[in-house]
């Protein structure tokens, strides 16, 4: 795939984001995406076989990259606490299993999660900015963010204003991400592009660059609340974007596919994409995450299979 990689010094970044028209010119100047080639490459990489010691390494790495997520209207403090306990020690019968990277909850439960994981190294990620639709006034979104950070969230997952993006008001989206980033303070900002609503691969590439220019620490595929969530192809496209962005500006941005990743086999395929596209600099929880809930159980069952030699079953992992 051709690399866009226009060299961007900090002064250039200021230039391309100075006005709406300059930003549009830059984003529309990014090369178009070859959809057939992209999907073909993602499908080819999905056929790689990962076995034995490499598989054991990949399973542990994948576990340590999970943002263990519960984003339901029916979430209770008790459910969040039990999820935190599971995230800290995913398999109570085997202490060699690593902890997950973070627990991802709604902003009003961030305090409960922060209390439950204190001192364990597990981060608390909170969705904010009127997740999942993002349809609220900017003051509400900023207040949502600030309260989540105040409650103890160390990572914020924001959604972009897809309405503004699709209407072509890129600077508005850019300014909003900037403002949320400021409201985050020291917390890391993950920007959810909601690929399923962006309609084209070209739009996903543009939104990725827009979010990175605005200062995102991570770009995230989706909320998990729409029909199309993370796919290998759109994740591959975003991995190309973070690679090219680092080449252009020197700043490294992480990627988080979320929604629909349920099996260990899927997770291993995503890790292959990371390694083959962005490179092994990204093969760490600081730079690549899985937004998932049921994935963890499947990884644990695969891990038990490798340890004991017999196939495990859902009776041997906890029900979330």
């Amino acid at each position: 795939m051709p690399s866009p990689a226009p060299a961007l010094a900090p002064a250039d970044v200021a230039d391309v984001t100075a006005t709406d028209s300059a930003l549009r010119r830059f984003l529309h100047g990014l090369p178009g995406v070859d959809a057939v080639g992209l999907e073909g490459r993602a499908a080819t990489l999905a056929t790689r076989s990962i076995k034995t010691t490499a598989k054991a390494f990949a399973i542990d790495l994948a576990i340590s990259m999970i943002d263990l997520t519960t984003l339901e209207g029916a979430d209770t403090p008790g459910k969040v606490r039990s999820l935190c306990a599971k995230g800290v020690s995913p398999d109570p019968t085997d202490r060699t299993v690593p902890s997950v990277a973070a627990i991802c909850v709604y902003s009003d439960l961030a305090g409960v999660a922060a209390e439950a994981v204190r001192g364990t190294g597990v981060q608390v990620a909170s969705v904010a900015t009127a997740f999942p639709a993002g349809r609220a006034a900017r003051s509400v979104k900023l207040a949502d963010t600030a309260e989540a950070v105040a409650a103890g969230a160390t990572e914020i997952d924001m959604v972009i204003d897809r309405g503004a993006f699709l209407a072509g008001r890129y600077l508005e989206v850019f300014d909003e991400i900037r403002a949320v980033r400021e409201a985050c303070g020291d917390a890391h900002l993950k920007v959810i592009l909601e690929n399923g609503e962006l309609a084209t691969y070209d739009n996903i590439r543009r939104a990725s660059w827009l979010a990175m220019l605005a200062g995102a620490h991570f770009i995230k595929t989706s909320t998990g609340k729409v029909a199309v969530n993370a796919t290998p192809a759109n994740t591959l496209l975003m991995l190309e974007a973070v690679r090219d962005f680092r080449d252009a500006t020197g700043r490294q941005v992480g990627v988080k596919p979320a929604g629909g990743i349920r099996t260990a086999k899927d997770a291993l395929r995503y890790l292959v994409l990371v390694n083959e596209t962005a490179g092994d600099d990204w093969l760490a929880p600081a730079w690549f995450r899985f937004g998932a809930s049921s994935l963890l159980n499947d990884l644990l069952m695969q891990r038990q299979k490798l340890t004991t030699g017999v196939y495990s079953g859902p009776d041997y992992v906890t029900v979330d």
Partner: protein, 291 residues
Amino acid sequence: MSDTSAARLSVLKTYKLFIGGAFPRSESGRVYDVTTPDGRWLANAPLASRKDARDAVVAARKAFPKWSGATAYNRGQILYRIAEMLQGRHDQFRIQLAEAQGVDADRAAAAVDAAIDRWVWYAGWTDKISQVAGATNPVAGPYLNLSSPEPTGVVAVVAPVGSPLLGLVSVLAPVIATGNTAVLVADPAAPLPALTLAEVLATSDLPGGVVNVLTGRPAELGPPLAGHQDVNALDLTGASPDLAVDLEAAAAETLKRIHRPRTAEDFTADPGTGRLTAFLETKTVWHPIGV
């Protein structure tokens, strides 16, 4: 111009496994020769691997909640439907059995008839077994005490050797009649009736995954099934004595329920209810009365 007088090329059938309601090839890509008893080649059958066995267990587990939760009446209707579908393919099975076992057409036809009748027999039992195997128990206290039979879960069945249709149906039907789901390892010498039966099952409103059919070596497929933590019971009818001992030992790790007939069964005899109750658990409920 084509030569219209030339003999037509015959269309050979690719036999495939039956997993989760679909007909996949073996994950391993392997096949083996199936022959008549006197050595004439009949077809290639898939030689299933342990990964196929794992996939079959996943499918069976997925199908279990819906199948065990269906009403007994509904299960009976579906089992009866299987008998109807089998009747419609009577000729195909008669020919297949005659080839597989080297028997004459009359004996093969009798075996197909008996297999159809066996489905009808178990179809009738689905909504009666709980009256026979369950009870209201007299207890010394102010309780209504009920015992009811519940399906065990996923049952791995090693099909009997030497009775590729009647024997197969006789071990499979009671497992699913009571609400269990099954992973069946067919008789390796005569797997074609089992694979054709899968086509009958697929067109009988039986939900995908309730029955999964594997063909291959029981010695290869048995150990992963016996060790599998998500398999609840084993039927070792067709396992050789040595293999059966190994599988029982492996199954003990996860306290699986085992059914292992000590003597060779006569599948033409009255089946009784022994096989129905072999894969039922008894649930007892104490319900306070007088309040």
